[in-house]
């Protein structure tokens, strides 16, 4: 981050960001409640949050879904793709709505993406399609969970 961007965040912004990741109040006037907690008006809360959204610090305020909780099945897949095919394979992968993250990483296995499918069957179906694509890949489902990011302290 550049210093100028850093300076854009005031104390109120930081307080808001730290507060609303985990403890967003579920009530009829959530922004008023937040304002009461940190001593500013409802409208000030809204104005700050709008600005933080505009500059990309807040992506959205809403439900963060649990794939398993909605009956779904998820995994991580690493594909070994030749350099000149990377962009086309990556965009083919992005075409699946079920793909939530997709990155280029260094190494023989260079395209890494996570899939969050609506069911085990759907996941298997996708994996067969990926297999049919012909590039070597690793399917890497989670066997044990130690930490799942919930909050960024700013």
């Amino acid at each position: 981050m550049t210093m100028t961007q850093e300076l854009e965040l005031g104390d109120t912004d930081r307080q808001l960001i730290n507060l609303i990741q985990l403890d967003f109040p579920l009530d009829l006037h959530p922004f008023r409640t937040i304002g009461d907690q940190i001593g500013i008006s409802e409208q000030e809360v809204i104005d700050h949050l709008k600005r933080l959204t505009d500059i990309g610090i807040i992506r959205r305020i809403g439900p963060i879904l649990n794939t398993k909780g909605i009956g779904g099945s998820s995994t991580l897949i690493a594909v070994r793709v030749p350099e000149d095919a990377i962009d086309s394979v990556a965009s083919w992968i992005n075409g699946f709505d079920e793909v939530s993250h997709n990155y280029l990483r260094p190494g023989a296995y260079n395209i890494w993406f996570t899939v969050s499918a609506s069911s085990k069957e759907r996941l298997h179906e996708m994996i067969s399609e990926i297999k049919a694509f012909g590039y070597p890949f690793l399917e890497l489902p989670v066997t044990r969970l130690f930490k799942i990011g919930v909050k960024f302290e700013v």
Binding site: F24, P63, Y103, S116, F146
Partner: protein
């Protein structure tokens, strides 16, 4: 989870409006009282369909632009202990054990976020010292092709 819950998730998963009464419009859309919207969201959190209800942070915009997937080859009988140590690092946002293969020995994955690649490297080094695991690789993301939340 019933049809109304499903509709409620679909209406909110891209973010609620930043207005004084954000659940009012949703209530209107679903033709249920506003209090029921809130009760339903709380029930979905309770039952684990929703992991949490709150803000998703664009950490890139916060300047946390270096992100490394650090993969570790940890002896099976040490995974529990080592995983707990890794999870304790503030720079580690996610930590999982995943299946390994003969051609891929790495079984523990820690997502490390920092302002610079160098800082990510320092964190990995600290984890290595704290756990005694020296077979690891830092796989930085060189390009983000896609990033969305889990959606239905």
């Amino acid at each position: 989870m019933d049809d109304l819950d499903l509709k409620l998730i679909k209406l909110t998963q891209d973010g609620i409006d930043l207005v004084p009464d954000p659940f009012g419009e949703i209530a209107l859309e679903l033709a249920i009282p506003e209090a029921e919207v809130i009760d339903r969201i709380e029930a979905l959190v309770e039952s684990g369909v929703i992991r949490r209800f709150g803000a998703s942070i664009g950490h890139r915009a916060l300047g946390i632009v270096a992100n490394a997937m650090c993969v570790w080859n940890v002896p099976d009988d040490r995974v529990e202990e080592v995983g707990a140590v890794m999870a304790g690092f503030g720079e580690v946002s996610h930590c999982y054990e995943r299946v390994r293969y003969p051609e891929w020995d790495y079984n523990l994955y820690a997502m490390i976020h920092a302002r610079t690649k160098e800082e990510c490297g320092h964190t990995a080094h600290d984890i290595s010292r704290a756990t005694g695991i020296s077979d690891y690789m830092l796989l930085f993301s060189e390009k983000e092709f896609k990033k969305t939340g889990v959606r239905i």
